[in-house]
């Protein structure tokens, strides 16, 4: 079964490259350039997993996590946060707001993929998603 991942990143260069890397690893990828667009795409497509940046225009990653938690269906979708900031307070804040994992930029794709695989395995079957 092919999994759908929503990638939310405001830098087009990084977004395109990550999309290609994910597609090369057999994921179906949809993208958004900020949190607001991300919530819209997530509601419309109900992806299996979301990968999101934190510092983005319009609506940031923390606000996105809050909106996901408040949503009946989106709250069950695991969100991996990718961020250049590594202070414990920032990591804890994201985890408190519902992030399933926090990965520091720059990262090795193998580490991101291991996180994706782990979350897809642990959430499959338990999330009440009508996909």
């Amino acid at each position: 079964m092919q999994h759908t991942i929503l990638l939310i990143e405001d830098k087009p260069g990084l977004r395109d490259t990550l999309q290609s890397l994910l597609e090369l690893h057999q994921y179906q990828v949809i993208t958004a350039a900020n949190g607001e667009e991300g919530i819209h795409m997530a509601t419309e497509h109900l992806p299996h997993l979301v990968i999101s940046d934190i510092y983005m225009p319009v609506l940031n990653g923390y606000q996105l996590l809050e909106a996901f938690q408040a949503h009946e269906q989106l709250r069950y979708i695991p969100v991996i946060i990718l961020s250049a900031r590594s202070a414990t307070e920032e990591v804890n804040l994201a985890l408190e707001k519902g992030a399933a994992a926090y990965i520091n930029k720059p990262f090795l794709f193998a580490n991101l993929n291991a996180s994706i695989q782990h979350l897809l395995q642990t959430t499959s079957g338990s999330a009440p998603l009508n996909l």
Partner: protein
């Protein structure tokens, strides 16, 4: 005249604050293009693999780019840390820390050099107890010392011994690397000092001065025993939470 001096002093403080802010913002901003470069290198490697065009030459050089990206990232982290120490913005948030847990997490996340597949050996003795320290700073101390142990040795994997003694925990980071010449030992923890035998091994010379500052901030001690050509042992000690109150 006095007013003039005050103005100059305010201007100098503002200038320093601005410079410090610029360093903090740009250091974080550098990480986005670094991430894009590193992802692009991995995409190239993945594409070469799937098309069965990957050979030893491509593999070695692509891996080298990734290694240098992470080296640059480590330098940025050191600059950010020194910047927050010097600007007085380093805030301490002490809590009870499980040292073994922190080292176990570090071991599973460690990827400073993708070309180096070794993992460090963790040996724990005694009954584990928590220490009262700042998580970020303790993590930085171990990342730096373990990172150095990998960087300056290429044969055996480094060893980290955690010995829970009656009143303190003693942590030894041991490597069989190039060691530190005796004449260099007194200056080892000074900012920008680099031992005379590091040759082409990259570094800023800031890492150990950060380690020393953080060890002191957390009421710990650090010593080093080293023989050039044979290896180094860095020994840290921290009082238990119950004994540090």
């Amino acid at each position: 005249m006095k007013n003039g001096e005050t103005t100059v002093s305010h201007d100098a403080v503002n200038l320093l604050n601005n410079a410090s802010n610029i360093i903090a913002i740009t250091s974080h901003e550098f990480k986005t293009p670094l991430t894009a470069i590193s992802a692009a290198v991995e995409l190239l490697a993945a594409r070469l693999h799937t098309r069965q065009q990957m050979d030893a030459f491509y593999e070695k050089n692509l891996s080298r780019i990734t290694t240098e990206i992470f080296r640059l990232n480590n330098m940025l982290d050191e600059m950010l840390t020194i910047n927050s120490i010097m600007s007085g913005r380093m805030t301490l948030n002490k809590q009870i820390i499980d040292v073994v847990q922190l080292l176990t997490t570090l071991r599973s996340n460690y990827f400073a050099d993708p070309e180096d597949t070794r993992s460090f050996e963790l040996i724990v003795t005694g009954i584990p107890q928590g220490i009262y320290a700042d998580h970020n700073q303790l993590n930085r101390i171990f990342m730096n010392l373990v990172g150095n142990a990998f960087k300056f040795s290429r044969e055996k994997a480094p060893v980290v011994e955690v010995d829970f003694e009656p009143h303190q925990v003693v942590i030894r980071i041991i490597d069989d690397g190039i060691g530190i010449p005796e004449n260099d030992l007194p200056q080892l923890f000074q900012p920008f000092f680099r031992a005379s035998n590091v040759n082409e091994i990259a570094g800023t010379g800031l890492g150990l001065s950060i380690v020393k500052t953080f060890v002191q901030e957390n009421n710990g001690t650090i010593t080093v025993d080293s023989v050039a050509g044979e290896g180094s042992t860095f020994t840290l000690s921290f009082l238990y939470h119950s004994d540090s109150l």
